[in-house]
Every structure is written in structure tokens, then in C-alpha cells.
């Protein structure tokens, strides 16, 4: 593997470009994981748009100095930040850029310090950091980077370790954030960051440096890790639904039940639930599950 002791502005641009490409290639999968803070399935799209804005700014202001390149990326991310994960991403790289400011090139120690400074900056912009999210993934990865930087002077090796640690932390996010465990997914924003880091180290290791590198080999290295394509929002377990009052059974047969009788049953079903929140105001996640119950065997 190519050893890389110093990273300059164009290396950094290559990293950002490939990171953005990995993210883009997997944006749909990241979307499907999105359950927190609002399960609207747009984390991947938001992060991708944010990263895209950063990379565009970087391309428009190419610089051989890493400090200038990081500043351009940071500015683009800030201007194009979308969604919570996008804003967090912009803060992470704002810290990175501040730390690298004024440098022509960075060695692995400086790179690790920049990642750590990014995390410190990101944690300052929130009252109550929620663990088990992109913040935790970034934090653990940066802490690991600082340790690794003492042992190796190869930036590619460092970045690969950062990616490995980020991926490992991502697998533990369901233990930290209950809503993730309930649905059985890892954090979407964290997953997005893991893809960005993957692009970073592969770029440094010389595995693809330009826009075309990924598109040329579809489904190879960039295949989503999870084969299933169903969205997390539809995977809430039915047995965890506390109030079962929105269940409906459709009767089929030779005799018909008058519409009126069917409708009179509903208030009693609601009473069972001991609450009076109208069924129309159920969160969409639960209603969508009930749709599948309705679609079940036609019996009563």
C-alpha cells in the first residue's frame, strides 16, 4: 500500500471527493435507516446535498495548501447544510478546518488533532448531545485517531483505522439510543459519516482518486452492506404496538354487513385503548404497520 506521510491540499480534495461519492452511492440506504430525530427518511439525501455543496466549493477554489482546502470545504458545507446530520457534518469540518488553518500540509498527528478538534467544535453547538448518533461515531473515531497517530506516520493507515473504529462504533449505536434498538437499525447519520471516512482512506490509499473511479465498478466496493432494502420506518414490530385500537379486519363472504354496523364498532375499540387520541393522529410509523395487519387474513 502507498505510504502517505504528508497530506496536502490536493490530497485533501481527493479525500473529500471520494468521501462524497461513497456517500452519494449509498444515500438511499442511509435514508432507509433514518428513525431519529424525526423518522422522515431523508438523512442520506440531506447529508449528500450538504457534502455536495462542500465539494463544489472545494472544486471552485482548488489550493495546494491543506489549510485553504479544508476552509473551502468547511464553507461549502456550512452554506449547504441540510437537516440535523448536515448541520453536524458542517460543524465537524468547521473544527477540522480551524485546526488545519495556515498549514501547507499535515502529517498524521496533525490530521488526528484536526479530527479531534472537529469533534470538540461539534459538541459545543448543542445543549444535550444525544449519544448513539453521528456525534458518538465521530467522537470515538477521533479519539482512536489521536492514539493511532502516536504509532504510525502513515496518514492512509491512520484514516483506515479511523474508518474501522467509526464502523465499529456505528454497530454499537443501537445500545446507546433506544429508538434505534427498537426498530433494529444503526444510526443513519453515523452510517453516512462511515461512508465518508471510507472514501477518505481509500483515496489516501490510492484506491480511486477521481469522479469516475466509483462509477466504473458498480456494485463492487460500494455495494451497500445491508442487503435488505425495506425502510426502517416500516419495520416496527407489531407486538410492540401498545394501543391496538386501529386494527381492522375486512370481512369477505356471501353475506354483507351493513356499513353502519361496522362504523358503530369503532368507538368501543377506542375505549379499549384507554385513550382518546383519534386514530388519524397516530404516528405514521404505527399506522403503516396497521395497514399490513389490515392486509392480513380476512377473518374475524
Amino acid at each position: 500500500m502507498l505510504r502517505k506521510r504528508f497530506i496536502n491540499g490536493s490530497d485533501f480534495a481527493g479525500m473529500a471527493l471520494l468521501g462524497a461519492e461513497y456517500l452519494q452511492a449509498n444515500a438511499e440506504q442511509v435514508n432507509a435507516l433514518n428513525v431519529f430525530p424525526v423518522p422522515d427518511g431523508d438523512t442520506g439525501t440531506n447529508m449528500n446535498l450538504t457534502m455536495d455543496s462542500g465539494v463544489r466549493e472545494l472544486k471552485s477554489k482548488p489550493s495546494p495548501a491543506i489549510g485553504k482546502a479544508a476552509e473551502a470545504l468547511s464553507k461549502g458545507l456550512l452554506m449547504g447544510a441540510r437537516g440535523n446530520s448536515g448541520v453536524i457534518l458542517s460543524q465537524l469540518f468547521r473544527g477540522v478546518a480551524k485546526s488545519l488553518s495556515g498549514l501547507e500540509q499535515a502529517d498524521s498527528v496533525q490530521l488526528a488533532a484536526a479530527l479531534q478538534h472537529g469533534v470538540d467544535t461539534a459538541y459545543k453547538a448543542v445543549v444535550k448531545p444525544v449519544e448513539g448518533t453521528i456525534l458518538t461515531v465521530a467522537k470515538e473515531a477521533a479519539r482512536h485517531a489521536v492514539q493511532i497517530a502516536r504509532r504510525t506516520d502513515d496518514a492512509a493507515e491512520l484514516m483506515r483505522e479511523v474508518h474501522r473504529k467509526a464502523h465499529e462504533t456505528l454497530q454499537r449505536t443501537p445500545e446507546m439510543l433506544p429508538v434505534l434498538k427498537q426498530v433494529g437499525v444503526v444510526d443513519s447519520g453515523g452510517q453516512g459519516l462511515v461512508y465518508i471516512y471510507e472514501g477518505f482512506w481509500r483515496s489516501l490509499a490510492g484506491e480511486g482518486a477521481a469522479d469516475t473511479a466509483l462509477i466504473a465498478q458498480p456494485g463492487a466496493a460500494i455495494a451497500p452492506r445491508k442487503p435488505e432494502r425495506t425502510s426502517a420506518q416500516s419495520r416496527l414490530e407489531t407486538e410492540h404496538i401498545e394501543y391496538l385500537y386501529d386494527m381492522e379486519f375486512l370481512l369477505t363472504g356471501s353475506w354483507a354487513v351493513p356499513e353502519r354496523r361496522l362504523s358503530t364498532r369503532r368507538p368501543s375499540e377506542r375505549r379499549l385503548a384507554g385513550t382518546a387520541i383519534p386514530s388519524s393522529s397516530l404516528p405514521t410509523t404505527i399506522s403503516s404497520r396497521c395497514m399490513s395487519i389490515r392486509g392480513g387474513p380476512a377473518m374475524c
Binding site: N84, V127, K128, G274
Partner: protein, 119 residues
């Protein structure tokens, strides 16, 4: 006037204070928000003296012609995209209120009262 939920067994009332607390704590989950700006100095001052958590600080619940409006007075962190932070808070507060008490909020107005610059 509290929010009413009717059941066959009786009614459930959720006060505006309660709605404000839910909205306030939902907002605190959002990235980029570093604090709430108090609108009622006296009330919040007393709560602070008593050492109470004051999650409804900077939150006002208003009703106009059957419409529910929530005003949030916030302080954001310098260096974040303020419009996006505000938008994230609106989405989160709307989602949580609907999820927790089935309240459909018509408008969530965000007033950025301050920007905190850290060092």
C-alpha cells in the same frame, strides 16, 4: 385553555404549560440550539431561584381561532446554518407533539434571540 381529548370514559386535559414543556424539551434535542431565551423574566427567574428545571422557558403556546401556534425563542451556536437549525427545530417539535399528545400544531414560529460564539 387546555387541549381536550374526549374519550367515552371522560375527558383528558393537557395544559398549555405541559405542551410548552414538551415543545421545549423536543427543541433541546436539536443540533445547533444552545439555549432558550426567556420572555418572562420574572416567572423564569423565580423558577431558577427555586432550582427547578425550566423546560418551558422561551416557549409560548398561543391559540387563535382554533389554530395552535407555538413560539420558540432560541439561542443558536455561531457557525451553524441558522435557517436550517430553525427548520430542524420546527420539524422536530411538530413531530414530537403529534407523537406524544396527538396535537397538530398549525404554526411553529422561531425567534432567534441570540447567537452564542464559543471562544
Amino acid at each position: 385553555m387546555p387541549l381536550q381529548l374526549s374519550t367515552e370514559l371522560g375527558k383528558v386535559y393537557v395544559t398549555d404549560e405541559c405542551i410548552a414543556v414538551i415543545a421545549g424539551s423536543a427543541a433541546l434535542d436539536c443540533y445547533g440550539l444552545v439555549g432558550m431565551a426567556s420572555r418572562k423574566q420574572l416567572k423564569d427567574g423565580i423558577a431558577e431561584l427555586l432550582g427547578r428545571d425550566n423546560l418551558s422557558r422561551g416557549v409560548e403556546v398561543r391559540r387563535e381561532n382554533d389554530m395552535v401556534h407555538i413560539d420558540l425563542y432560541i439561542i443558536v451556536s455561531y457557525g451553524t446554518k441558522i435557517s436550517e437549525v430553525a427548520h430542524n427545530i420546527q420539524a422536530k417539535v411538530k413531530y414530537v407533539l403529534n407523537e406524544v399528545i396527538g396535537l397538530k400544531v398549525d404554526h411553529i414560529n422561531i425567534f432567534v434571540q441570540g447567537v452564542r460564539v464559543s471562544r
